[in-house]
Symmetry: C2
Subunit: 284 residues, 2 copies
């Protein structure tokens, strides 16, 4: 497996996701290094044997020794990082990321990148409602999907390496989608659902109802605890797709509302039957 | 405890909820009888020792022996049943129900009821996505809320009896609300969330995305498998409250959409921070 040869792996950004990657890879025997913003993050990761080496800011030596680099950063920081530090990359290095949007990232990075290194984008669809390397946990990969989003510029070898990465990290399922397919999927399954949860929490002050909440409400709003810096950036980067999904949802929700307003019981039941039929498909 | 004296309990309607009540009460030593539509339901319940006696249709003898009657029927069937069968009720009998809407039921029933029996309304906020006595399970009460919704017509004794019923059934929390407070609460916490889940499933055919769904999406749409006969009836019976909640939600969701459309990052982040702050309150 090609993957085996990429044995020195640099993780840039050591938060929840970067830390979880580090834990999984170190356990598998890879030499894991990391760059983080704060020294205490590196100290914690070293003390807890999550990484083998680490530094803050730019460390040309660490970068130049990496066979593979995984970017676990906010999208805008990630692009800047490449611009400023790609000079230090080892020729032949493979680069991947964890970013939740793809179109706006992949083409830009690939077009600015040195020709002797390769960026193959991927998205681990895993997460928690907590942050930081202290909360990192590679068990979050077990039930999650890992999506590789190659473009025409990617080599079969890099695509295969990235697939293998998803597999060894322990993801339940590894898939390949175009950046466009990925962003449409994520707009619906993840971003639209987060918008719904947020709007449900903010549409009225319902804190007096806290005593009466059941599982349905808690399940529906669990994702309403949201990292505003990260998610606003992801929403804006996928703005066109997400707006389209939001408009479809508003239109449908309004239809349901109008069926209720006009006391159209059969119309309501038809919507519910369609919903039940479709949802059953998601339980197969 | 007044409750103790009501030892012969008739359950009218032996589905998931009626069956779960029967199991809990029989285990506690009450004499549990039931009326169901179908003979096979009664046969199953007798064979599995869920009830002590049962019959289909009207059984004047069974009704006349009951100290307490619990209605686990659809709202419209429930009102009809009272009209047709209240003549058989034992003087002094206490009546309660499991209906998910209150204003439209409670006052009508109380005004048509014989003066020597008393109806004290309640709502066990428990359920499953499956139906029928075969799936009944009184463990669903453990994490759930039980709401008693008295009116000015109710006696303190009946209210206390109904509270005790919720307690012995094993509910996590027993509360008292007016029918109006109840319907507002249920409009927001339960009906609005079901509308959202249904609209999310029906707004576009996203079955090709089934491979990529994560926990968030599954949690959010679990309740999109919905009993169309029951829920459409509940929605229509709480139409004014639910429409108000739906309009609040549409307005808020549209605000979020417009913030995204105008690329107002700070506005988006503010909504997310409010959402996070409120949701945290629900985790206390």
């Amino acid at each position: 497996m090609e993957w085996i040869s990429k044995s020195n792996i640099l993780i840039v950004g050591l938060g929840l996701m970067g830390g979880s990657y580090a834990k999984a890879l170190k356990r598998l025997g890879y030499h894991v290094t990391a760059l983080a913003r704060r020294q205490e993050t590196i100290d914690y990761a070293l003390a807890n044997r999550i990484i083998d080496e680490g530094a803050t800011g730019t460390d040309a030596d660490l970068i130049s020794r990496a066979d593979a680099v995984i970017f676990a950063l906010y999208p805008h920081v990630f692009t800047e990082w490449i611009r400023e530090n790609q000079q230090f990359l080892k020729p032949g290095a493979l680069l991947t990321d964890v970013t939740g949007v793809k179109r706006c990232i992949v083409y830009d990075i690939q077009s600015m990148l040195r020709p002797d290194v390769e960026f193959i984008a991927s998205h681990p669809m895993a997460g928690r409602e907590v942050y930081g390397v202290e909360n990192s946990d590679d068990r979050i990969f077990r039930e999650a999907n890992y999506i590789v989003t190659p473009t025409a510029k990617n080599t079969p070898e890099a695509i295969e390496w990235c697939r293998s990465l998803g597999q060894i990290l322990g993801f339940r399922k590894v898939s390949i989608l175009t950046p466009e397919e990925h962003d449409e999927m994520i707009g619906f399954l993840s971003q639209l659902t987060h918008c719904i949860a947020v709007a449900l929490m903010t549409c009225s002050d319902n804190r007096h109802l806290v005593d009466y909440t059941g599982d349905s409400f808690r399940d529906l709003t669990r994702i309403a605890r949201i990292n505003d810096a990260m998610w606003s950036e992801l929403f804006l980067l996928n703005r066109d797709d997400l707006l389209r999904q939001m408009d479809l949802f508003i239109g449908e929700f309004r239809e349901l509302r109008d069926l209720l307003a006009s006391e159209d019981e059969e119309g309501l039941r038809e919507k519910m039957r369609l919903s039940t039929e479709r949802r059953a498909y998601f339980d197969l």
